[in-house]
């Protein structure tokens, strides 16, 4: 079953440019230079129930705009959106009962009152029964470890504490679909791990579909099998994360640290392998192509020279994404 179905989605914004100088400012009073800018440009996307999808792109690539259209906040300029079988904008009040949203940069809790009062209000707003609430939220509160925070006003919480509460608040009505817009922004490693573990749990337990945008690619690596890459409003990659890694990387790197200085000539000469000297006793072997080469190379090198340490450097997703954006390499 498709939870999200998006076809040829497009969102244009009118922006105006200011003319330079005082004379320009006066001219701006009467006529302005308008420019149409497509923040989201012809996107098609389907997401199935229970999937965890990472939605990544640079700042201004159109991620947040897409999420805002999917949640019914913004109206699309053209194209069709069906989420949970509904049109988000047209059937807003009915639709929003079936989704949960966390915006990392904005709080949805009431600032001046205790966290539990916010929860209580949300429980009423979403008409959750006492029984469901106690059962479900009891679990959420325990897993996110926010029990001791419940009677504190939101303004007194630290960012990590607040974020966990935000996540809990988005789940009061146990929605089948969860949108997370940069949920781990500015959080420390421990809180990040806690949040990731929790997301995995609800995904397994309730088959919650999760669409996640983040700049922290380790989040995506830990959570998502599938990634959608966005650049200037267009989807440039949609598929498995590990395929992205396989395709995008020219090869692996093996770092040999020898006990003594080793000249270039005593290293094995194999096709598809390039050598690069890091310092006197350290060499980097760059392998292009076959993964089988790794073991062959290591055994060849080790037989000839005494080594202190060997390290296989895998290229991180971050590296891949950086490469894709810098070199404009589009993968399909």
């Amino acid at each position: 079953m498709n939870v999200i179905e998006v076809k040829n989605l497009r969102k244009e914004f009118n922006s105006y440019t200011s003319r330079p100088g005082l004379a320009g400012a006066f001219r701006d009073l009467f006529t302005r230079n308008y420019k149409v800018h497509a923040a989201v440009d012809n996107i098609s996307l389907t997401i199935k129930q229970g999937e965890m999808v990472g939605y990544i792109g640079e700042n201004g690539a159109g991620k947040s705009t897409t999420i805002k259209m999917l949640t019914g906040i913004l109206t699309p300029t053209s194209g069709s959106i069906i989420v949970n079988g509904m049109n988000p904008h047209k059937q807003r009040e009915e639709f929003v009962r079936t989704i949960g949203v966390v915006f990392g940069q904005r709080s949805q809790l009431w600032w001046d009152i205790a966290v539990q009062e916010s929860f209580r209000l949300l429980k009423k707003v979403y008409r959750v029964s006492d029984e469901d609430y106690n059962h479900h939220m009891g679990h959420v509160i325990e897993t996110l470890d926010i029990g001791p925070l419940l009677d504190k006003p939101v303004r007194k919480l630290s960012l990590g504490q607040r974020m966990r509460c935000e996540l809990a608040a988005a789940l009061v009505h146990n929605p089948p679909l969860l949108f997370l817009d940069e949920p781990t922004i500015g959080l420390d490693v421990l809180v990040k791990l806690k949040i990731r573990k929790f997301l995995q749990e609800i995904n397994e337990q309730y088959k919650t579909t999760i669409l996640l945008t983040t700049h922290d690619l380790t989040d995506i690596e830990a959570l998502c099998e599938r990634v959608v890459l966005l650049d200037e409003g267009k989807i440039i990659y949609d598929g498995k994360l590990n395929q992205l890694q396989e395709h995008a990387v020219e090869g692996k790197q093996i770092e040999f640290e020898f006990l003594s200085e080793v000249p270039r000539s005593s290293l094995p000469r194999i096709e598809n392998i390039q050598w690069e000297q890091k310092d006197a006793t350290t060499w980097l072997g760059l392998i292009n192509g076959d993964e089988q080469m790794i073991s062959q190379l290591i055994s060849d090198v080790v037989q000839r020279n005494p080594i202190k340490n060997v390290r296989i450097n895998e290229v991180s997703t971050e590296e891949i994404v950086r490469k894709i954006y810098e070199e404009g390499m589009a993968l399909t």
């Binding site: 019914g72 109206t75 009040e93 915006f103 009431w110 001046d112």
Partner: protein, 263 residues
């Protein structure tokens, strides 16, 4: 419905979170009433009455007008403007409720809170210091409260409209300030409408502002009685219904126009 009641409760909690505001509010209102009392005593000099109002009636008018203001006055216009400006309205759009309805409920929560914990104790303080008369009949009290409810609705509607203008202007602090002055002036808070020149009264009778302060205060001081009072109440009802139209229009426009500012 229970969610709206819950919202009123939350608003109570929020008001209680800032107690200093609450105490200083009582003080400021009392000072205001005092200032107007002395001003009006000076204006009256030795005269028995001006424009059909005696000094005692005038003092009561001023006190009641200010205390009623505590109930109908709210800051939802500024809140809506702030929520639009910093993009918080986006959060409100993902909630399964009517944003404007929820704002109205918040305003009501604030109003009820202030009526109970602000107007009533404030009134007692004022009655101890100034010669205010509360000998109105039970009927007058009843009509006063009915009228007060309408004045709350009219004022809240105007606040909603002003707040929503932010969708189109992006920054409307000026408009909000102007609105506040216009309401204080044209609603009869600072000066009873009957004191204005004839042509101004004529103009103001076509505007919704006197439904906010003048009518309930006049009913309480018994400056409006009988048929006149019923007509005044009817005019309030008229505005309660009529103002819904621009609100509906503006809101549906605003939703289409909604650009979430700040990312």
């Amino acid at each position: 419905m229970s969610m709206y009641l819950e919202m009123i409760r939350v608003r109570f909690l929020m008001m209680l979170a800032y107690r200093t505001n609450y105490y200083s509010g009582i003080l400021i209102y009392s000072i205001n009433i005092g200032a107007y009392y002395f001003l009006w005593s000076a204006i009256y000099g030795g005269k028995e009455e001006i424009q059909g109002l005696s000094v005692a009636q005038m003092t009561t008018y001023v006190a009641v007008a200010w205390m009623a203001r505590a109930f109908y006055y709210n800051n939802i216009d500024r809140e809506i403007a702030a929520e639009i400006k910093d993009g918080k309205v986006a959060i409100e759009m993902i909630r399964p409720y009517n944003y404007l309805g929820m704002k109205t409920m918040q305003a009501l929560g604030e109003g009820v809170f202030r009526l109970l914990f602000f107007s009533v104790p404030g009134m007692i303080i004022v009655a101890l210091i100034f010669p205010v008369t509360f000998n109105a009949s039970l009927n007058t009290w009843l009509f006063f409260f009915v009228s007060l409810v309408f004045s709350f609705i009219v004022n809240t509607y105007i606040n909603l409209l002003t707040g929503m203008m932010t969708f189109f202007l992006f920054n409307n602090t000026g408009l909000i300030r102007a609105k506040r002055v216009v309401i204080d002036l044209f609603s009869g808070l600072l000066l009873p409408i009957s004191f204005y020149p004839g042509w101004a009264q004529e103009v103001m009778s076509y505007l919704p502002f006197q439904a906010i302060s003048y009518i309930p205060s006049m009913i309480f001081t018994e400056g409006l009685v009988g048929q006149e009072m019923y007509n005044a109440l009817l005019s309030q009802v008229f505005w309660v219904v009529i103002l819904l139209i621009p609100i509906r229009l503006l809101w549906s426009l605003a939703k289409k126009h909604l650009i979430v500012q700040g990312g």
